[in-house]
């Protein structure tokens, strides 16, 4: 946060002073928040990162922020195959560890938020779902893909609740958003997705809490990508997400403190 503040101050100073200061002053190098910044973020962060980026743009007029959403697994695969990305915000920590193992991330990731899982059903709860156990009697349940974080978390929830679903009743969305959409717009009776997604869609689905004994704690990690062409911006954005201002935005979307 401190460095971020300093960065803004330096931008102001440079803006008003001589242009050649940029060559001499090392702080000036750090402060120039210009150019592109591509943030790859888990699909469950779509709404909150759109808001965070909006705020970041407002504070840093020179920086061009682009957002790339997808399932964390997809984002990891994209980054490993060399897609240009400056920051990864993932829905778990193991995915970032994969990037550490392949050398795409060299800085220790920071945990910036926590999330839990919840059940989403159609408005009015026509199938009278009250608990994870009730899911077994439904016709179709939407879960995320087995290998993406929200699918892994959903499996944990089912295991902890001692519920096993027949695979022929499980439709798998390609990410958290599309999984929820199978309930909101399609014919799935229920979904297990992030609580924040259920909150964001409260106009079209009804959320049912999962007791903490059965629930999991999803930890969201953020880290700069090694080959980023704009490491300064990447770090500034990460600092912003970790700042008090960033936290207030995260909180307003239902995320919990790590």
């Amino acid at each position: 946060m401190k460095r971020f503040g300093l960065a803004i101050a330096a931008v102001v100073v440079i803006g008003s002073l001589a242009p050649n200061a940029a060559h001499a002053d090392p702080i000036a190098e750090v402060s120039k928040l210009k150019g592109d910044l591509t943030i790859s973020a888990a699909s469950s962060l779509t709404d909150v990162f759109t808001e965070l980026a909006k705020q970041f743009r407002k504070d840093n007029k020179g920086a061009k922020v682009r957002l790339n959403f997808g399932s964390t697994s997809t984002l990891v695969a994209q980054i490993q195959s060399g897609a240009p990305s400056d920051v990864l915000a993932s829905a778990d920590l193991t995915s970032i560890e994969k990037l550490v193992a392949t050398g795409n991330v060299v800085v220790a990731p920071k945990v910036f938020a926590r999330n839990t899982m919840a059940i989403a059903v159609k408005p009015g709860n026509p199938r009278a779902v009250r608990s994870v156990g009730d899911l077994a009697s439904l016709r179709f349940v939407a879960l995320c893909g087995k290998t993406v974080p929200c699918g892994v978390y959903a499996s944990s929830v089912l295991r902890r609740a001692g519920v096993s679903l027949i695979e022929s009743k499980v439709t798998r969305g390609i990410d958290a958003k599309s999984t929820l959409s199978a309930v909101a717009n399609g014919d799935a009776d229920a979904a297990i997705v992030y609580k924040t997604d259920v909150l964001a869609a409260k106009k079209i689905v009804l959320g049912i809490d999962i007791p903490s004994a059965q629930n999991v704690q999803a930890m969201y990690g953020i880290a700069p990508i090694r080959n980023s062409k704009n490491l300064t911006n990447a770090k500034a954005f990460i600092d912003f997400v970790l700042s008090e201002q960033g936290w207030q935005i995260l909180k307003s979307f239902g995320f919990q403190r790590p």
Partner: protein, 269 residues
């Protein structure tokens, strides 16, 4: 053929050649990239095991049914569009072509709007009266695939019908054959190249369907998870199997193109 090629080439400006070469490179490079990633020794094992083989089996069955529906419904529609003058024909044709240009996901959303059990126009009726639920069922996959494949068949057959010299049918009529007999013995025979092309391209399109399928029929292993869906999901958990499946789809499409030679590719004179 080669002599004619040279003759035309002499009049062709250099930049056209360069552009054509670049276009060819642009199209072929990704295919080379795909082939390079395929682990050849494991293709058979990847494709014949677990979810991959189930997806292939499901794809094969659903795409054949979808093509059959496209054929049964598409042939009469193509006939009407090609042979009958009526007001608003161009509007009807535009409507038929719409699924060709529509993003498939939008097609899936539209199908939900019509046949979804909870929100669809007639989906609830289908379920209450006939007990049919298309969403999350293999039948739903067939519907999604037929929806996107039908226009391709109609377009191919319509252009084929237009290119038939009407004198053949007229002379058959003067020789005393009725409309049905003329259709089966004359028109259908003359139409067969475009019919084969239409069926082939509709089948390839049905086989490759992704967006409408996952949106409308869902993604249930062994039930609605077709090969393209499996490729997408396996890319993250088992890339080798994903590349093997991709190769199978590529090989099938090449076979389709070979089957279509003479109708759309080049001319058999």
């Amino acid at each position: 053929m080669s002599a004619r090629g040279r003759q035309i080439g002499a009049e062709t400006p250099k930049f056209v050649w360069v552009g054509a070469m670049l276009a060819l490179l642009f199209l072929s490079l990704p295919l080379v990239g795909l082939l390079k990633r395929v682990a050849w020794t494991g293709v058979f094992a990847s494709v014949t095991s677990g979810p991959a083989s189930e997806a292939l089996r499901l794809s094969l069955i659903t795409s054949v049914f979808a093509t059959a529906i496209a054929f049964i419904l598409g042939l009469p529609l193509a006939w009407v569009l090609a042979r009958i003058e009526f007001r608003g024909r161009s509007i009807v044709r535009a409507l038929v072509m719409l699924p060709m240009v529509l993003p498939p996901v939008v097609g899936g959303v539209a199908l939900l709007g019509a046949y979804g059990k909870s929100h669809g126009l007639i989906g609830g009726l289908l379920y209450d009266v006939f007990g049919i639920q298309l969403t999350f069922s293999p039948l739903g996959v067939v519907v999604a695939e037929a929806f996107v494949a039908l226009p391709f068949l109609v377009m191919a057959v319509e252009s084929g019908l237009r290119s038939i010299d009407p004198r053949y049918e007229e002379s058959a009529a003067t020789m005393g054959s009725g409309p049905s007999e003329r259709f089966w013995k004359v028109t259908l025979r003359l139409l067969s190249p475009s019919l084969i092309a239409g069926v082939a391209v509709a089948w390839a399109r049905a086989l490759g369907e992704f967006g409408a399928t996952i949106t409308f029929a869902g993604n249930i292993e062994g039930r609605t998870q077709t090969t393209p869906l499996a490729v997408y999901l396996l890319l993250e958990s088992d890339p080798e199997a994903a590349y093997a499946l991709s190769f199978v789809l590529l090989a099938v499409c090449v076979a389709v193109l070979i089957a279509m030679r003479g109708s759309w590719l080049g001319r058999r004179s």
